[in-house]
């Protein structure tokens, strides 16, 4: 037959719901916007510098690794940008440039690319990077020291440092409403609680993050903090304080639900979140670290492959097969 029609041949199924990685990443980036803009308004130009440097260097590292490993260039999927953005959101507004670049190197190269790129990493790259920097240069990540040049019309202390040093006595100047609106020192994109909550709810409704993880993470914080608080209200702060300070909200909505480092089954997701919340408060109240969220997430990342084995049994096939 002369000149037959050339058809596209591929495998079933021939329908797709249209979801794609980049769409999800860009939506998560969009969801951070409220919190990021609030941070920029609060901290001004230096924060913008940190933010752009972080996003830019993260993408540069990704490109470099793509070239080195001779794999398709993947900066278009937005994941590197998201990693850079989330990393910057955790940082104080005033940090040296080399710290940002090292951080994104650790996040993108060691946290993600050496595991084979997106989906391979067993730990959240952003959290790994931040934890490593926190060990190396705690003085640059100390919010009270970093933000000393800023004049705010509210108590400009990092609530958790005050809490660690003076117990509940240091917390009188913080009101839940103020904390929710970002009247606290903290990371560029981690203080404006309301923005993070709105962004998180948007992502949950759109199905880009799992509500099971976010909700159970916050529930874990709430329950544990409540228990401590009831046991000794003089020493241990209440649950609302714990949820609205530090990295609790950004952790619950943006760090813990990261796909590659979290479980996928229903019960494991709940356990994962609850354990994360529990550890967060435990480390804050008893541990050596000021904010427990980073390590709590690392630990739940670590246990996720094992708890994800708690899953319904696969269906037994009953059809007869020749």
């Amino acid at each position: 037959m002369p000149n037959p029609t050339k058809l596209t041949v591929s495998h079933a199924p021939f329908l797709h719901d249209g979801s794609e990685i980049s769409n999800k990443q860009y939506n998560i980036i969009a969801a951070t916007l409220l919190a990021v803009i609030a941070g920029l308004l609060q901290y001004g130009i230096p924060a913008l510098g940190v933010l752009t440097l972080s996003v830019g260097s993260a993408m540069a590292w990704e490109l470099l690794m793509n070239l080195l490993t001779r794999r398709p260039v993947s900066i278009g999927d937005g994941n590197a940008a998201l990693i850079g953005l989330l990393f910057a959101m955790l940082l104080p507004a005033v940090v040296p440039w080399w710290l940002v670049v090292t951080g994104t190197f650790v996040a993108v190269v060691i946290g993600k690319q050496i595991y084979g790129g997106i989906g391979g990493n067993p730990f959240n790259p952003v959290v790994v990077a931040y934890a490593i920097l926190m060990i190396s240069w705690p003085m640059f990540l100390d919010f009270n020291a970093a933000l000393v040049d800023y004049q705010f019309d509210f108590t400009a202390g990092f609530p958790l440092v005050l809490y660690k040093a003076y117990g509940t006595a240091g917390l009188e100047s913080f009101s839940p409403g103020g904390l929710l609106l970002g009247q606290q020192a903290g990371g560029i994109g981690a203080t404006f609680g309301l923005g993070l909550i709105i962004g998180g709810i948007y992502l949950i409704l759109r199905g880009f993050i799992r509500w099971e993880i976010a909700v159970s993470f916050l529930a874990g914080i709430f329950i544990t903090a409540l228990c401590f608080n009831l046991y000794n209200p003089e020493v241990y702060a209440g649950p609302v304080f714990h949820i609205l300070t530090g990295y609790a909200l950004i952790g619950a909505f943006f760090l813990a639900p990261e796909d590659s480092s979290s479980p996928v089954h229903f019960t494991p997701m709940l356990i994962y979140g609850l354990l994360g919340g529990f550890l967060t408060v435990l480390i804050r109240n008893l541990g050596a670290h000021v904010d427990g969220v980073i390590y709590a997430i690392l630990i739940i990342n670590l246990v996720h492959p094992i708890i994800d084995k708690i899953r319904p049994k696969a269906m037994r096939r009953v059809m007869h097969h020749a």
Binding site: T5, A12, P13, S19, I204, F208, S261, R317
Partner: protein, 424 residues
């Protein structure tokens, strides 16, 4: 139409299409020039075939390939002359033989009478011998297999795949033939418990067929035999005790014994590029080009032609591909609408796990398959629990062709195990 909803908190559900109350009569299509038939047997001893190139065949004639293998046959839907016999490789390296018959319109009335002679006394042997390639492809080996005792026959009047309405139309318009078929099945198989499984809106119509009626819900893949057993017939779920036949096949059996003539017109749902549907009847073996021409559907370079439904069908590379006895739908997809698969790794988002009707840990499975660990996938990640519905690949945000991975892996493992057994 099939996109992810804006609010994606719940697991997406794919709904089966429902036949309209006023459904236009199917368009009748006749093959132009030639038909192609597949015989499920390797064409490996070309000199020993019973049929030869140049043989004249009559409508309804059994075309058996080898003398010692009576199960490898096709039914000629037309009268004509065999113009070509050649090997054909189907999906998963399946070795088949393609037989091309040039139709001769002047021999239209020449009918094969072999079946008519035995149709007075229905028997399972004759049914297997003559009716196994009727439209709907009834599998009579289910009853002759010594390893299993069938206690229930499920007649599937709902459509397995999305967008097709073939099964529903049979129930709507041919319920009396289905009833006759069921009566004959009772007689020839000895199985008394016959259940008619239909879509919810057709329960009343189906009730007239004097059989137990069950309805499947509106969400894909509830009309899949595995899901029907699991949800509707769980009490009889012993391995191998339930046999499945499509309503079209049962109606065909009824019609065949009623008239002594073999019904060879296949009912097909044609889904056009714009998503509209058209029912068509055409002899088994009719080329897709003839059918698409009859419904005025233009196919261009880069479009996709799918034999079967959108979730489980096969994309074919030629418009000359024929309708097979079990091709319920023919679908044309515009090149703009095609979503290509990618080589991106799994991001562990878990959508596949949540949508999988068989509770397979698909995320783990796909990682194992990506690393080539097929045996481990079978042991740890329930590879063989897969019922091949295709939903995992439908929701995959990395656009991994998971469904194809799974089919390949199953094929590889089966072949490996067979080789091991042969060596043992």
């Amino acid at each position: 139409m099939m996109k992810r909803p804006f609010f994606g908190i719940a697991t997406p559900k794919l709904k089966y299409d429902v036949i309209e109350d006023v459904q236009p009569e199917p368009v009748s299509v006749q093959p132009k020039q030639r038909v192609t038939l597949f015989i499920e047997k390797a064409y490996d001893r070309a000199d020993k075939t019973l049929i030869k190139k140049g043989d004249a065949v009559a409508r309804g004639q059994r075309l058996q390939l080898f003398d010692e293998d009576p199960a490898a046959y096709a039914l000629s839907p037309v009268s004509g002359v065999i113009s070509e016999i050649s090997p054909f490789i189907g999906m998963m390296e399946k070795q088949m033989t393609a037989v091309v018959i040039d139709t001769e319109s002047d021999r239209e009335d020449d009918r094969d009478t072999a079946f008519k002679k035995v149709s007075g006394t229905p028997s399972i042997e004759d049914a297997a011998r003559f009716l196994g390639r009727l439209p709907g492809k009834p599998d009579f080996t289910q009853f002759t297999d010594a390893d299993r005792t069938v206690k229930t026959i499920a007649v599937l009047g709902a459509d397995r795949d999305l967008q097709a309405i073939t099964g529903q139309y049979i129930i709507k318009s041919g319920i009396s033939s289905v009833k006759t078929g069921i009566d004959i099945l009772r007689k020839i198989t000895g199985v008394q418990n016959i259940v008619l499984v239909v879509a919810q809106h057709q329960v009343q119509v189906a009730g007239t067929a004097a059989a137990g009626v069950r309805s499947v819900d509106a969400h894909y893949p509830s009309a899949h035999p595995e899901m029907i057993i699991r949800h509707l017939l769980a009490e009889q779920a012993e391995q191998g005790q339930i046999a499945f036949l499509t309503a079209e096949a049962v109606a065909g059996i009824g019609a065949a014994y009623n008239t002594g003539e073999l019904p060879l017109e296949k009912l097909i749902t044609v889904v056009k590029k714009d998503g509209t549907r058209q029912l068509v009847t055409a002899p088994v073996g009719t080329h897709a080009a003839d059918i698409l021409g009859a419904v005025n559907e233009q196919v261009e370079n880069g479009d996709r032609l799918i034999m079967g439904g959108p979730m489980t069908g096969d994309a074919v590379y030629s418009l000359e591909h024929p309708v097979e006895p079990d091709t319920d739908a023919i679908m044309v997809q515009d090149k703009e609408a095609i979503v290509e698969g990618t080589d991106t790794p799994c991001t562990n988002c878990g959508e596949c796990v949540r949508i999988c009707p068989a509770n397979i840990p698909v995320n783990e499975l796909v990682r194992l398959l990506d690393a080539g660990e097929y045996e481990q996938a079978a042991e740890q990640a329930a590879l063989f629990s897969c019922i091949e519905c295709g939903l995992c690949a439908y929701v995959c945000e990395s656009r991994i062709p998971i469904f194809q991975f799974i089919r390949l892996a199953k094929h590889a493992v089966k072949r490996m195990r067979a080789a091991e057994e042969a060596n043992a």
